[in-house]
Symmetry: C2
Subunit: 145 residues, 2 copies
C-alpha cells in the first residue's frame, strides 16, 4: 500500500467532506443532502427498488424507507408496484421531483460560484476530470443494467 496513494485517499476524503460542509452552509442547508442525493440517483439510474436505492445511496434500507416516505409525502417520488415481486416497490421521481432537483442544483451552483470564481480553465479541466474519475469509482450502478 503506497504511502502516496494512502495520503491521496485521505486528502481526497477530507476535501470532499469540507466541500459538502461549505455547500451546506452556503445554501443554508435548505434541502437536506439525503433528499437530493436520492433524487439525483433516481434521475440518473431510473426507478429503483427501495433496497437498491438504499444501496445506491449508501444508506441502510430502513433509512431509505423513511426517506422515501417523506419524499412521497412531498410528491417528489412515487411508488410503482413491482410486477416481478409482489413484496417490492419501484420508486420513481415525479416531474415535481425533477424540477425540485434542478432548482436545487441551480441554487447550489449559484451559492458555490463565488467560491470557485477564480478557477482557471486548466483548473476547471482538472476538476472535470477528477469528477469523472470519482463518478466511475463511486458508481451507483452495481449490476449490469
Amino acid at each position: 500500500m503506497p504511502t502516496e496513494r494512502s495520503r491521496l485517499l485521505e486528502d481526497l476524503i477530507v476535501s470532499a467532506h469540507r466541500l459538502t460542509r461549505v455547500a451546506a452552509q452556503l445554501t443554508g442547508s435548505t434541502t437536506p443532502a439525503a433528499v437530493w442525493r436520492t433524487l439525483s440517483i433516481l434521475t440518473t439510474d431510473g426507478s429503483l427498488r427501495v433496497g437498491d436505492l438504499a444501496r445506491a445511496s449508501r444508506v441502510t434500507q430502513p433509512t431509505m424507507t423513511k426517506l422515501v416516505q417523506h419524499l412521497a409525502e412531498e410528491e417528489l417520488v412515487y411508488r410503482i408496484a413491482d410486477v416481478d415481486d409482489s413484496r417490492a416497490w419501484l420508486i420513481a421521481i415525479t416531474p415535481k421531483g425533477t424540477t425540485a432537483l434542478e432548482n436545487w442544483r441551480r441554487e447550489l451552483a449559484e451559492a458555490l460560484s463565488p467560491v470557485f470564481a477564480d478557477l482557471t480553465d486548466d483548473e476547471s479541466t482538472i476538476l472535470e476530470k477528477a469528477v469523472a474519475i470519482l463518478q466511475v469509482h463511486t458508481s451507483t450502478t452495481r449490476k449490469a443494467a
Copy 2:
C-alpha cells in the same frame, strides 16, 4: 454564469457527497465525520477558539461547543484559557487526539483502497491536483495567520 461552470460545480458536489457516503459505509462510520474533521483542522491550523473552530469546520458555534465537550471527555482535545480574552477558550488537540486522527486516516485509506485500486498514475495525478484546488478554495484559514 457559464452553464459549463455551473454543471461542473453541481457534479463536483454530487461526487463529493457520494464519496463521503462511500467512506462512511466502508469504514462503518466508526468515527463520526464531525470528529475527525475537527481534529484535522486543529492539526493543520493549531489551537483555535470555539467560535473560530466552528467557522473553520462550517458549523454553528453551539454545534461546535457540544462537539468540543464530547472531544474533551474523550481526551482528544483540551482547553486552554485564552489570556487575551477571559470569555474565550482555545481548543487544542491532545497527543491522544493526534493518534486517533492518524488511526482514522489510516483506516479510511485502507477502506477506500480497493475502490481506487485501479487508479492509473495519470488519474492519481489528476486527483492530487483536484485535491489541491479544493483545499485552496475551501481553506479553513479565514484570516491572516
